[in-house]
């Protein structure tokens, strides 16, 4: 190994010289680190290497025809990183060929497997710079990944703690539940109104989801507009909303709010015709009084409104009490039949 390096060894430490009959007559110093010298010297190039590109190279004559073209080589003895190469006629006028090789993209593994150092690459070779970049990139990617993981966790936590519906800006189910719990804790009297849009699916189907989102946002605005700051508007998802009216509202107050909501929502949307149905529960009408029981009761009377022809308000009637008035489709108060 300590023989003096030829200029070719310095400039192309991974080259080989072939005699005209395809035997290997010289191997560059870095290539000699991959296999013992005896594995190369005097052997037929095609016995040492499998030429995988171009295919069908079986003789020295085939090989010599390839001057200037890209070669892909694999050691025949055992699984090893493949080499990239190029073959040219010998530059010193001696008959035969010069094959220069490199590790190509397999360089990262090759450096590790063969314990290569800076000295194994020509000073002009950018391999060391490339290895530098690979490590720099890995270090930066690792830092970015850690940042992303932390951001993801923070996002999940924020979502978990959020009480606002992203689309409409009103409270979400969590905000609603917290509000109800606060009311129950101070034994307040209040009303829960469950509002569901009529004809919303057709808006989505006919005019697209942007139009649907717009209707939801306008509906939320109307609801916020119709109640006081100390009341609560929440969106349960889809086209379902809840209003919580604090301070022991009378049936007449709920009816007035309901009528205005039904009228204003019906006036929305121009081509997209929507309406809304409402079910209302007074907290004093429920025992035991829990958030779940309130929402369940409101849901039942909402569907009573839907079944009765939509655009209506229906009150929850506790067992054993006279039926309450309901709003008809025009928003006027109509006494229920029976």
């Amino acid at each position: 190994m300590n023989r003096t390096l030829s200029p070719l060894d310095v400039i192309c430490p991974m080259h080989m010289l072939l005699s005209p009959d395809g035997r290997i007559s010289h191997v560059g110093p870095t290539l000699r680190k991959l296999r013992h010298a005896s594995a190369f010297a005097g052997h037929d190039f095609l016995d040492v290497f499998d030429v995988t590109r171009p295919q069908g190279i079986t003789s020295a004559e085939d090989l010599m025809q390839l001057a200037g073209s890209t070669l892909r080589l694999r050691f025949r003895d055992g699984p090893q990183a493949s080499l990239k190469g190029v073959i040219v006629p010998r530059p010193d006028g001696v008959p035969g060929a010069l094959v220069n090789t490199s590790f190509g993209i397999c360089i990262v593994d090759a450096v590790q497997t063969h314990h290569l150092t800076n000295a194994d690459f020509a000073p002009t070779d950018l391999t060391v710079e490339m290895l530098y970049l690979v490590e720099a990139k890995s270090a930066v990617m690792a830092a970015s990944r850690r940042l992303n993981e932390r951001l993801q966790q923070a996002k999940l936590l924020a979502e978990e703690q959020a009480v606002t519906d992203v689309l409409t800006g009103v409270e979400n189910r969590r905000g609603l539940e917290q509000f109800l719990c606060r009311l129950l804790a101070r034994q307040a009297e209040f009303a829960v109104m469950h509002l569901d849009l009529d004809g919303f699916k057709q808006v989505n189907d006919t005019f697209g989801h942007d139009a649907g989102d717009d209707v939801l946002q306008q509906t939320a605005r109307i609801m916020v507009d119709e109640v006081r700051d100390r009341d609560l508007v929440a969106r349960l998802g889809g086209d379902e909303f809840i209003l919580v009216i604090d301070d022991a509202p009378s049936i007449a107050t709920i009816e007035r709010i309901g009528a205005r909501l039904i009228n204003r929502v019906a006036a929305l949307g121009g081509a997209a015709s929507v309406g809304c149905s409402i079910g209302a529960v007074l907290s004093r009408d429920l025992t035991p009084l829990t958030p779940q029981a309130l929402l369940k009761a409101a849901d039942e009377v909402l569907y009573a409104s839907k079944r009765a022809g939509r655009g209506r308000l229906t009150f929850y009637i506790p067992p054993g009490r006279e039926p309450q008035p309901v709003l008809d489709a025009e928003g006027g108060i109509a006494k229920p039949a029976g």
Partner: protein, 195 residues
């Protein structure tokens, strides 16, 4: 300012002086948060306030703290990437010194928005060099002084380093390499060390 700069100071303070001290620093600086993100940008003013807070908490000149930071960046086992990336610069200490002029460019390849002022190496005699650290980053020369000391150790070289402050910036580090192979140094292979 790239978050890496602030994060480096944070890791250095936490590991050298403890997390409680770091909390003191951050309270003194009054940012309203307790940790930096390496991959987020910060205003240059943030780093200045951080350095002021460091000085107040530790009663130690910022230039000495920055020099220690430079050494820490190379020697801390928690930041193996920095030392490895620097070792890519050369096969021995002299080779490494010559690679320093490329350092800002190398750093830019790794983190495009982390801008280091130029470095210029002049050979003033056999084994004697001047490294000029251009103005633009407060404490740049102090940081490099710490880095060069630690890298001399890493390569196993014996070097004498002197910092000459220039009022207009462009501080100069005089380097005398007394012995290139004073100790065996620490090992470095191109292939990534499999941990």
């Amino acid at each position: 300012m790239h978050g890496l700069t602030n994060k480096a100071i944070e890791v250095f303070v936490k590991q050298t002086y403890g997390t409680a001290k770091w909390q003191n620093v951050m309270e003194k600086a009054g940012f309203g948060f307790s940790e930096f993100e390496a991959m987020l940008p910060y205003e240059p003013e943030v780093t200045v306030r951080l350095l002021v807070a460091l000085r107040e908490v530790f009663h130690r000149p910022a230039r000495l703290m920055i020099e220690d930071l430079g050494t820490f960046l190379v020697t801390s086992p928690t930041l193996p990437a920095i030392r490895r990336l620097l070792r890519f610069g050369g096969v021995d200490y002299a080779d490494f010194l010559h690679s320093l002029e490329d350092l800002p460019e190398r750093v830019r390849l790794a983190a495009p928005d982390l801008v280091l002022p130029p470095l210029e190496l002049t050979e003033t005699g056999p084994n004697n060099y001047y490294l000029r650290c251009y103005a633009g980053l407060p404490g740049y020369a102090n940081l490099m002084l710490g880095v060069l000391r630690a890298m001399a150790d890493d390569y196993g070289a014996l070097a004498i380093l002197d910092l000459h402050k220039r009022p207009q910036g462009g501080d100069i580090i005089a380097i005398q390499v007394v012995e290139d192979e004073y100790t065996a140094g620490k090992s470095f292979t191109l292939g990534q060390a499999t941990a």
